[in-house]
Amino acid sequence: MIVADDAALFRAGIGRLLADAGFDVTAEVGDAAALLDAVERDPPDAVVVDIRMPPTRTTEGLDAARSLAERHPDVGVLVLSAYVEPHYAMQLVESGTSGTGYLLKERVADPGELTDAVRRVAAGGVVIDPGVVARLVGRARARNPLDALSEREREVLAMMAEGRSNQAICERLFLSPKTVEAYVHNVFTKLDLHQAADTNRRVLAVLAYLRA
């Protein structure tokens, strides 16, 4: 693991948290350039990077994620952000081949949330913060196709948007794989969406649908 954040206290805390959870943190850096150098020297399984870092303090984290996706597609990138902005999350998912995640900073207070996200990203999965998904699902629409979904179906939809696999949804909702598959099938049919080939592409499809 590599952690990149310009706030030293926060960076050290994240490092300690990951170490406590059994991750091997190989480097902690303060900006995007140092992150790219560190990855170049010793490619980790995943990096945790702050979206806003010096020098411009805007979206250096996203830019770094894009560079990493090009040069080290195997390295998972989890971007921590204070912005509940689907736009950034979409940008991230679109730029990365696999193993990308967009998580709100405050999730660090939730046991397991950060470590779970890091694990999924390291394994090549996509993670979208529930807060971001909730913004998309819950937004006001003139003609809301989501009204056609049952509450459970909406839950499944949100979980798909967060980047969870069918298996993960089973575990979360305490449902059988068959039931989850049926819900997923229903959602796609009702929303007139094509079933995507894999979980990651499913995220993009669902996010794109929710944003449209």
Binding site: L9, F10, G13, L17, V108
Partner: protein
């Protein structure tokens, strides 16, 4: 040139008349035999040329006394007649005639080289004019003395009195050729000078130059061909044709010159048209200018209006313009009751005719005054628009700063607190009490920091103390927090309208921030006093000065103050500290 008295005009006119008659007499009864078929046309043409120059020259002299051209034309006319002395078959007359035979050409060179002013203005003109004079009488005198005079006094003299006399066997000597070469070079330079003047002239100047210059160029051109014919040994019979045509042009040329000189005077009738034109239709910014430009025949004419309030010139759309007499442009200031209202920037040739410009300006007076007021309004509108845009810009900038402060400050600290609490929670079982205590301390410190930052931010967004307690306590609080030692003088205890207090507060706040950030000041003195019905705030530091009043911070303050009808001034000499003074009226 001095003004010609009516008396003088009469004397010169009579002298010209006599000179013409004398020349005619010399030609007919002088003693030389002139071919009969040539006598009549020669006589008519020669006398016509002389009289044309003398009379038209007198008119020009009278109408345009400031130009020497008229006088030069009169002199040319007399020099023309003087050549006829040679036609009298006595030796003194011959000598005089030879000496004066080509003086008229020198005067012609002088006239054309200096047209229309009649005054030598640069080195090139001076050289051409001087050489022109040296080539006539002085050179002829040398030839006379050396006995090398062309033709040696036998038969018709060679000065060109009777054109046909040139025919026959004439073999030019080396000296002759050299002299002619100099003459050709002189005429070529003359053409170059005249052409350059014409080319570089503005449209208005060109109008007055064209007829005279064109005629002059034709004359010089024909003389050139005639001279080169001799130089190149072309049969003189060819040259005769040119010499004749040159004389025909010479008769008309004075009129062309006069036309050029009086052109603008003829335009006075245009002033009447101007008034009619201005009366028709609604005034639009460009119209007044184009009507004036048309009347004065100067398309490059510009109008700048004086705004006494801003002490600056603006164009019709209210954009400030620099008005200086540069680039050879002429300036005419228009005044009303001793107060400037506008300035005309025009072709320099119009400066020679102040009466015309003044007449036009008087004719357009009301329209100019009206247009000036329009320009003033447009200028104010522009300023208001710019200020409005800056205020919006400033507000956006402030929002951006608040967002950044929140994100990088309090929000980041709170996230760190959450993280520390989370770590403490996970380590409850495993870590020592001291380790967990350290984590909780860290969380507490971060929380305190976040609170402090939020408080500062809130105060920066809006000073609550100002509304609660008034300007005095609010400024004291500002001074207490200032990184640069700041002293607040006595602030009147009464309250002013909210907007006035706020504006004064932000003036002090911004000035203090500047003193700390840019001025490197050691101390700041804040002074507030009631000023009539309003407030006057002064913030003076002892820093390095050199602050730009147009810098974004001060500019924003100026807009703020201006929005209340007040005024902000900044005195910041380099190395002399900075003094910001805001005067804000109440109500």
């Amino acid at each position: 040139m001095q003004r010609l008295s009516p008396q003088g005009r009469k004397v010169i006119g009579a002298a010209g008349l006599l000179a013409g008659v004398g020349a005619g007499c010399a030609l007919v009864w002088g003693g030389y035999e002139v071919p009969a078929d040539l006598l009549a046309p020669t006589l008519v043409l020669e006398v016509a040329v002389g009289w044309s120059f003398v009379t038209v020259g007198l008119v020009a002299w009278t109408r345009r006394p400031d130009s020497r051209t008229g006088a030069l034309m009169v002199v040319l006319g007399f020099a023309w007649f003087a050549r006829f002395a040679v036609a009298v078959a006595v030796r003194p007359a011959f000598v005089i005639g030879v000496l004066l035979s080509s003086v008229y050409l020198s005067v012609l060179v002088h006239l054309l080289a200096t047209f229309p002013g009649g005054r030598v203005q640069n080195r090139a003109e001076r050289v051409v004019v001087t050489v022109g004079y040296l080539l006539s009488a002085p050179l002829d005198a040398v030839f006379l003395l050396l006995g090398a005079q062309r033709g040696l006094g036998e038969g018709p003299p060679p000065g060109g009195l009777v054109i046909a006399a040139r025919s026959g066997a004439f073999t030019p000597s080396g000296v002759d050729l050299a002299v002619q070469a100099v003459v050709v070079a002189l005429f070529l330079s003359l053409l170059a000078i005249v052409f350059t003047r014409w080319r570089t002239a503005g449209p208005a100047q060109r109008r007055s130059l064209t007829p005279g210059v064109l005629g002059g160029a034709v004359i010089v051109g024909t003389i050139l061909v005639e001279r080169t014919a001799i130089l190149l040994l072309i049969p003189p019979s060819v040259g005769v044709v040119f010499a004749w045509s040159a004389q025909v042009v010479l008769v008309v040329w004075p009129v062309a010159l006069l036309l050029g000189l009086l052109r603008s005077q003829l335009d006075r009738s245009a002033v009447g048209r101007l008034i009619v034109e201005l009366g028709a239709g609604l005034p639009v910014p460009e119209r007044l200018r184009s009507v004036l430009a048309r009347t004065l025949h100067d398309p490059t004419l510009e109008l700048a209006y004086w705004l006494p309030e801003r002490r600056a010139f603006v164009d019709a759309s209210g954009v400030p313009v620099a008005v200086e007499a540069n680039g050879g442009r002429g300036l005419t200031r228009l005044e009303r009751d001793g107060e400037p209202i506008a300035v005309l920037v025009h072709d320099p040739v119009l400066s020679a005719e102040p009466e015309l410009v003044a007449a036009v300006a008087a004719g357009a007076g009301m329209a100019v005054q009206n247009e000036r007021l329009h320009a003033e309004v447009r200028s104010q509108l522009r300023e208001v628009r710019a200020s409005r845009a800056r205020i919006v810009e400033a507000a956006d900038g402030a929002r951006r700063r608040v967002e950044r402060d929140l994100h990088d400050g309090a929000q980041q600290r709170l996230v760190t607190v959450a993280l520390a609490l989370r770590l403490a929670r996970t380590q409850l079982g495993s870590a020592s009490r001291a380790e967990i205590g350290a984590l909780l301390d860290e969380a507490g410190a971060e929380l305190a920091g976040a609170l402090e930052e939020l408080r500062e931010l809130a105060r920066g967004i809006y000073p609550v103390l100002l509304t609660d307690a008034g300007l005095g306590p609010a400024l004291t609080s500002l001074a207490e927090r200032s990184p640069v030692p700041a002293v607040v003088g006595d602030v009147p205890a009464r309250r002013w309208p909210d907007a006035v207090e706020r504006t004064c507060y932000f003036v002090v706040s911004e000035a203090l921030a500047n003193a700390a950030k840019h001025a490197g000041a050691g101390q700041v003195v804040i002074d507030v006093r009631a000023d009539g019905g309003g407030l006057c705030v002064q913030v003076a530091d002892d820093g390095r000065g050199g602050a730009e009043a147009a810098g974004s911070g001060l500019r924003g303050l100026a807009d703020r103050v201006a929005a209340l009808g007040g005024e902000l001034s900044v005195h910041s000499p380099r190395g002399g500290g900075t003094r910001v003074i805001a005067t804000v009226p109440c109500g």
